[in-house]
Amino acid sequence: MAHAHSSDTAQHDDHHDQPATGIKRWLFATNHKDIGTMYLVFSLIMFFIGGAMAMIIRAELFKPGLQLVDPVFFNQMTTNHALIMIFGAVMPAFVGLANWMIPMQIGAPDMALPRMNNFSFWILPFAFTLLLSTLLVPGGMAAGGWTLYPPLSLQTGDSFPMLIFAIHMMGASSIMGAINVIVTIMNMRAPGMNLLKMPLFAWSWLITAYLLIAVMPVLAGAVTMLLTDHFFKTSFFNAAGGGDPVMFEHIFWFFGHPEVYIMVLPAFGIISEILPTFSRKPLFGATSMIYAIASIAFLSFIVWGHHMFADGMPVAAQLFYMMATMLIAVPTGVKVFNWTATMWRGSLSFEPPMLFAIAFLFLFSIGGFSGLMLAIVPADFQYNQTYFVVAHFHYVLVPGAIFGIMAGVYYWLPKWTGHMYNMTLAKWHFWLSAIFVNVLFFPQHFLGLAGMPRRIPDYAVQFTDWNMVSSIGGFAFGLAQILFPMIIVQCIRGGKKASSLVWEGTHPTGLEWTLPSPPPYHSFTTAPEVP
């Protein structure tokens, strides 16, 4: 339902077409670019905080035995590393990219609900300050794992209500962001831009936003019930009171599995923008890409049981979840095939966004394959709770989601700032990241297959060598990430002027490339006509 802009909507108050100055610009920001920038900066800060926790984990696991931190603190680090990376780094980064790019890609002047946009961002710093401040309360941070399984999570100390409130705030922020994306795309597309003409990044976000609206309230409901179990003597999940702890797992993973796709589908969209640009060919099977994303989103709702095979469930349920999970490989295979076919016989060039996109393609596929192994019920009984699972989901989330975000930032950064960044440094960032992410996570497959359990600060001596390799990879990967903000800051300050096309000699299709670099404060003064 493409709705043309009325001329009134597209008009601007020319004399006000400037950002406010000072702190007010950011506190009261309603401009999609300003809010997008704040989301991206926030997520980068959270990426380094979550990364620091990962460094503590890898430092402790460098050698067997307990040397640096006590086991409770180690568990606090694993729990909060996950919460911060998922809700603080990856999700806000994609919302930031959505804020920056969706209005520019669909030819809208701004997001449809700018004040709500401001509110949904400004909730986040409070949510994460609350979460991080639990480090200072008696009993420390939550340590029962990011999955918050009862009864373990109910033993959390004074930080428990703070954690639950922080999760509620993160959820509210995500839901508001998702509502904004949907109403913007459905109502503010430029005349002539029907849904099938819409860029793949906007498409992937439209589907992701529906996923968010469906599952974030489910997580909020589950943690509300945990809260009432903890403080108001209800027994939703307390077996002693007639409750069912396994029910929490069902509800959690009804949220948790689509959450994985919430973190990956926008990356699919970004990769689908970058590969055609640097292959100098249109995206192969663009319509099938949209159907594939929609199929993956649908299937993500019916596979949650594969996280719970080892809990025990009827064989029929095991078979259903196993087969439904394997079915996801079909639309994912369509996407990987289409990306490969897009590059086939293209005039490829290897700028940093393309390098990250190609690494995404290979390394995300490794995560996908190990996911298929985990989907096999009898095999899962062996892999469950081992480092194989850790290796699997880190391959999906680091070279998957995070490389997707980095590819997107390197792709659009010259458009945002009007300057080209330091290509040599960015290539260094890529090669160090791509090499050391494998040194970090690939050995974890071997550790898991050899039986090393996850979420432990100590391990048997036979796991020493691969843990050392993994930790060295972790430290090197962490150090390499320092290049990322350096390159960004350098690019904001100056550099070679970027043209409106940015990537000369390519033929990208989105409307953002019709705007100058950097784009005006409000993207389109008159609604563009899409032929």
Partner: protein, 45 residues
């Protein structure tokens, strides 16, 4: 659209955006309370 506040001025679009946003917010609330209600029913059996 006002550049300082980014507010949409077109009344028709404003109504459509508001209706869409309210509908989606209701959907989210339905999921939230719906799952809690399901669990309350489950815990009674």
């Amino acid at each position: 659209m006002n550049a300082q506040t980014s507010q949409i001025r077109d009344a028709l679009m404003k109504r459509r955006v508001r209706k869409g946003a309210l509908g989606l917010a209701m959907l989210a609330l339905a999921f939230y309370f719906g799952f809690i209600a399901l669990l309350v029913l489950h815990s009674r059996h």
